[in-house]
Symmetry: C2
Subunit: 277 residues, 2 copies
């Protein structure tokens, strides 16, 4: 049986494209309405994996998914950095000069602002990128285009009029693969690893400095830090840190023991192969 991978969005969403690029073309990709549904399908073992976006290099973190990782007992088993290429899609036979309107999610439209203005087209905001592609097909719109993923072209039988509509090419979205059981995904080779953790701190001076010292004193490199409010505890935070190494490495394991002395709450979300991009 094919590996089932849950993602948020409609068929053709960037999350689906990331799932296919990361886990191979033979997976069965399972669309979900909300991020919560991705977590539920994996928790209930109806899908082996879930793929969730956690950060875009231009827009920043997708904080909802950090909160959901805390609420669910899943493990991060992989990461994938998708180069976001907003493609201009249209019905077969339509040429770029025929396009009067471009439909997409407001963030995609904003990221292609300069290139779209050069085309002199009207911007139409829609709920998501893949839905915009579907709309071109279902309404048989011969004077409109959609900004969406390359995958959306396949799903909705559209043609790609232009493949890199985004103004800034440093446009990547980082996805995390989640599973019920820990450990790197099958087939990955032992190489360069990362670990993600979440922890709380006592509300006292120097608390974060001391927490970071457990890594700095052992020359462990931090790749990301994020804070999120703790519900009901006014102006207190959960910290999410990614560091280089596996939780089981002696060095990292000692750092985590040390951090546990300082943190009322500490959880390892997972160790996984670093995606080099």
């Amino acid at each position: 049986m094919d590996v089932r991978v849950a993602y948020q969005g409609e068929p053709g969403a960037y999350s689906e494209q990331a799932a296919l690029e990361f886990l191979g073309p033979n997976i069965e990709s399972v669309p979900c309405r909300a991020f919560e549904d991705v977590f539920s399908l994996v928790s209930e073992r109806k899908c082996q994996y879930g793929l969730i976006p956690v950060e875009n290099s231009l827009a920043g973190s997708i904080h909802r998914n950090y909160d959901l990782m805390l609420e669910h007992d899943l493990h991060i088993i992989g990461e994938y950095n998708l180069r976001v290429r907003h493609c201009l899609l249209a019905l077969p036979g339509v040429q770029i000069k025929d396009i009067q309107r471009v439909h997409s999610h407001p963030q995609a439209l904003a990221q292609c602002d300069k290139n779209l203005k050069q085309l002199g087209v009207e911007f139409v905001a829609e709920a998501d990128t893949a839905g915009s592609a579907r709309l071109i097909l279902t309404r048989d719109e011969r004077h409109a285009g959609a900004l969406a993923s390359r995958r959306a072209a396949d799903v909705y039988n559209l043609v790609i009029l232009s493949e890199n509509m985004e103004d800034n090419p440093a446009n990547y979205t980082r996805f995390l693969a989640l599973a019920c059981d820990p450990g790197p995904i099958e087939g990955s080779e032992q190489s360069d690893y990362k670990t993600s953790i979440v922890f709380s701190l006592r509300n006292e001076p120097g608390a974060l400095f001391k927490a970071l010292s457990v890594f700095a004193l052992r020359d462990i490199d931090l790749t990301k830090i994020e804070s999120r409010p703790i519900q009901g505890q006014l102006w207190e935070y959960m910290f999410y840190i990614d560091f280089a190494g596996m939780a089981e490495d002696q060095n990292c394991s000692r750092a985590l023991d040390h951090l546990a002395e300082l943190s009322p709450y500490l959880r390892v979300l997972g160790s996984y192969q670093r995606h080099s991009q």
Copy 2:
């Protein structure tokens, strides 16, 4: 002439209520369509102050405003923590038992989920809270209510059927007051101060630890840390820190000199009186 204060939203928005509570009932509150417009009106000295939300205790930071602070040369001159009380508003004469539908922003509806379900009403998502209140008035809706601020009741001549519809009372939004010139706002007394800064770091192991050491070694308490991606520099970040004290205090001033040795970019956004809430 009255002090003019720019805020984002329609008349009756929570930002307007915060402006009136913080800066007094005699200000002239100036509604703006977008956060950018608040920054522009203050930069062009068309308004003395701008009031922007930067964090909600339940939902987290409003990252767009951190980015805008970096893009503009304004100074933070005050902070105000607004206790967010979602009021159920209706036309005069309407009773709570008449309400079949409740209009509001999706986040306000979510924050009142349990209380609204007890009333057995339908949820209707709108673009903002104050706009929902206006809609009740303009459509003369006698079977609908709106979740909005107490201020919105005054603006749209509605009555408050219930004042604390939010499920979680630890619901505060932190606002910052911005001005062209630095310094605490008139009338504030010397007492407990905070300073906000933004800085970048070299992408090398231990960089954040060293940056925090400049505060920890001087027993300066950090109250908040936030990171935001730097546009065009993949997976590199700007850090925003709030700490206790004024930038001019000898202790803080030395910490900032020390941080400047480590940071390619460092800017003091402002020192201001701490709001105790």
